[in-house]
Amino acid sequence: MTVTQAGFRRRLLARKATAVGFVILAIAATGVGIAALAVLMVDLTREGIGRVSWDFINAFPSRKPEEAGIKAALWGTIWMMGLTAAFAIPIGVGAAIYLEEYAPKNWLTRVIQTNIANLAGVPSIVYGILGLTLFVRAMELGRSLLAGSLTMALLVLPIVIIASQEALRAVPGSIREAAFAVGASRWQVVSRQVVPAALPGMLTGIILALSRAIGETAPMIMIGALLFVPFTPDGPLDRFTVLPIQIFNWAARPQDEFRVNAAAGIIVLLAVLLTMNAAAIILRNRLQARSRG
């Protein structure tokens, strides 16, 4: 009896020790991701913050690293984001409304739904190949802002659709039933009741999709956004460059001075992205607070 009790105590002690060891391991693992982000931020800030200035933001690229700036890239990014939003938001929200509110439960709907999930996993460079063949060459848009934005719109479309679907799904069915009961047509129910209720959730998804578009580099390289652009675009058919491409261009050069420029460009890019992320998080928290209250 005492022997088995001692044996049990020993095993219990070992089990408790394993449990403690595992907790420490799990905490350490959780720390890895956070630490990586912290090291990245500190390293980039240390390297680039001295170069961030109004002159840097307001100067065109130059062969002299100390005179070079991101004006063309910043304007290109703003243009591209606007055009991408103009294509991706209506189509993405429309597709989500169709799938959640209209689509019959048949094979075609299942195909569309599976297909959207697959598109979300297609590597961005493949979208670049598509954009190069379809928009730049077949539709003869050239290496323009329009071609770049259409490519980017196709790339972020699955994100917009999936996020909007989730937002629509979260709207209680009772709202729809109440509207139908007073004689509203399906479109009246959707446009006046369901979409307004789902709007904050949709906006969160849209902001995240656009922040993905701002950071994408590979597809823009594929469709041939320029590496050296000493002008700001005036219209959708102009040639252009974007911030990530400007950063890539500087990062790929061996000279340290250009690397400092790359780090400074990254700080500007991350500042834009973090602002957008913060907006998305605030929107989501508001939404959660409202649905609780």
Binding site: A26, L37, Y102, V111, I125, T133, R186, A218, M222, F248
Partner: protein
């Protein structure tokens, strides 16, 4: 009185007269909206068809000139030099080396993070850690590539292994791994959160420690969801472009040594499109053959992952 009655009659008859017309208009508008929304949804199908058509057309052209056996078995990849060799194996080796290295970093770390967040962390800590991981997931890959090149390669790998070249597979693999940690963590946590509480309570009632509940009850119960997250993350690693372009190098290399410079399929596609290879030439067509290989690999993995997730949902819903 009589006047009022006529008024009432006219308004009733107006409703009767306008009724069918308005109903028809309303019906027509509804149908138009329905059609427009369907077209929006169909854009996604069109995108897939366009991707396949684009890749297929040029890939077929490529395989008219290069035999598919050479493409799959030749160990050299030198489309830009004479004699030309088109063996995808060396690009595939570079891709797999980086993906396996990234998986070695991200799968254990991501899974442990998920276990911690789902089974141990108090909710206030979870609400701090999850947004931080979301920020990490949102860092553009060109930024991570710069970090891989200037920090991980120069300040870590080259210090630990003196004599290593600045471009090496290891630094790219580590940073690609960091990139996919949030994905593994968040999807695995979703899978574990879907495990019914009764399973945990049953195990606690039998005297299990929290560690035993997490590792022997929750993880096995969520296994198909966890494996799905692993597959999806590895597929992301295979398709990653900017980190490997900046940090892994540009030398197609059939090697398993992570300290060597390699070239992945994605980095090759970028290299060709940055260069002045004439469009329509055989050299340029290589990017479609490589793109097709990449597309098929990631598609197969995405489908496998979705299949696992679906099976998982069926069990608990």
């Amino acid at each position: 009185m009589a006047v009022r009655a006529t008024e009432a009659q006219t308004s009733v008859s107006r409703i009767r007269r306008r009724g069918p017309l308005e109903a028809r208009l309303r019906h027509g508008r509804e149908a138009a909206v329905h059609g427009a929304l369907f077209l929006c949804a169909f854009v996604s199908v069109f995108t897939t068809l366009a991707i396949i058509a684009t890749l297929l057309e040029e890939t077929v052209g490529f395989f008219r000139e290069v035999s598919i056996v050479d493409f799959l078995t030749d160990t050299k990849w030198t489309p830009q030099f004479k004699p030309q060799h088109f063996g995808i194996l060396s690009l595939l080796a570079g891709t797999l080396l980086v993906a396996i290295g990234a998986a070695a970093v991200a799968l254990p770390v991501g899974l442990l993070t998920a276990i911690f967040l789902s089974e141990y962390a108090p909710s206030w800590l979870r609400s701090v850690v999850k947004p931080v991981l979301e920020v990490l997931a949102g860092i553009p890959t060109v930024v991570l590539g710069f970090f891989a090149l200037t920090f991980v390669s120069e300040d870590v790998i080259q210090v630990l292994f003196p004599g290593t070249k600045i471009f090496n597979a290891a630094s790219a693999a580590i940073v690609v791994g960091i990139m996919i940690i949030p994905m593994v963590a968040s999807l695995s946590e979703d899978a574990m959160a879907a495990v019914p509480y009764s399973l945990r309570e049953g195990a606690y009632a039998l005297g299990s420690t929290r560690y035993e509940v997490a590792l022997r009850v929750v993880v096995p119960a969520a296994l198909s969801g966890i494996v799905a997250s692993f597959i999806l993350a590895i597929s992301r690693a295979i398709g990653e472009t900017m980190i490997v372009t900046l940090a892994a190098g540009a030398t197609p290399n059939l090697t398993w040594d992570p300290l060597q410079s390699v070239q992945t399929m994605t980095a090759y596609i970028v290299q060709v499109s940055l260069g002045d290879t004439p469009q329509g030439s055989l050299e340029f067509r290589t990017i479609f053959a490589v793109g097709m290989t990449l597309f098929l690999m990631t598609l197969a993995m995405n489908i496998a992952s979705q299949y696992l997730l679906q099976r998982f949902r069926e069990v608990y819903e």
